[in-house]
């Protein structure tokens, strides 16, 4: 994560988890980046990332996805994995972030 900060990229994690759950997770794992809570999946829905009915009690949750947004608010890169077990790698994102002003 420090490597992202070094190149001026702010990582932000978003899920339906409550702030408390995310706080526990980030403390236990020693994460320092921002965790945001979207309990009703409103923002997740706005980004069309809802994975319907697979959360606790059949709640909607987010599918895994990553977006690199530049300072003007424009999406410069995104990754919508087709397989839950395959994710974007930090090196990949750092490479793309070089393109940003």
């Amino acid at each position: 994560m420090d490597r992202f900060n070094e190149v001026g990229i702010r990582p932000v994690a978003i899920s339906v988890d409550s702030p408390e759950v995310s706080r526990n997770l980030s403390q236990q794992a020693g994460y320092t980046f921002t965790f945001l809570s979207d309990p009703n999946a409103e923002v997740i829905r706005r980004y069309d990332l809802v994975h319907a009915g697979v959360g606790e009690n059949g709640n909607d949750i987010a599918r895994p996805a990553e977006f690199l947004v530049d300072s003007s608010g424009t999406v410069r890169w995104l990754n919508l994995t087709e397989n839950y077990w395959v994710r974007a790698r930090p090196e990949q994102i750092l490479e793309v972030s070089k393109l940003l002003e």
Partner: protein, 152 residues
């Protein structure tokens, strides 16, 4: 009591099958190289398959002290091993792909929809704030939004 009596390739093959299954979720998933494609686990499954093949041959040999018991045990262990392998392939290659297509997600070149959400300190944070407040002492070049399933 002798070595011939204990069908070690069968049992080692079975344990290795279990190990090949579990090690993905506890070990290999932690490293992108072994996570994106489970080649390490498939290799372990392959070694297990060779041992199981030898074990099945031994289990069905005519010189077993208890031929019927041996055949039944061997069949059960081999079937279970095959089921574990099948479940692994299903979990990684089939169930892993059960994700929504997300065709309406913002594309490259489009504006990322603004939002305001609560952070772990209970503070309301908007995307525009995240894009403007300093990172490492200077204005951020960008924000990496990582959506994840969560731990509920």
């Amino acid at each position: 009591m002798n070595v011939r009596r204990f069908n070690w390739p069968l049992w080692v093959g079975f344990l290795l099958t279990l190990g090949a299954f579990l090690s993905y979720f506890f070990v290999f998933v932690l490293f992108p190289f072994t996570r994106d494609f489970p080649w390490a686990n498939l290799l372990l499954f392959l070694i297990a398959a060779v041992l199981l093949f030898l074990g099945v041959r031994r289990g069905f040999a005519s010189d077993r002290p208890h031929p019927t018991r041996s055949k039944i045990t061997t069949s059960i262990v081999a079937t279970l091993s095959l089921a574990v392998f099948g479940f692994f392939v299903f979990t990684i290659f089939i169930a892993g792909r059960w994700l929504p297509a997300s065709g309406g997600a913002p594309q490259v070149g489009q504006k990322a929809p603004d939002f305001t959400l609560t952070d772990t300190a209970g503070k309301q944070v908007s995307l525009s704030e995240l894009l403007s407040s300093p990172v490492n002492g200077s204005a951020p070049k960008g924000v990496l939004l990582v959506f994840y399933r969560g731990y509920w």
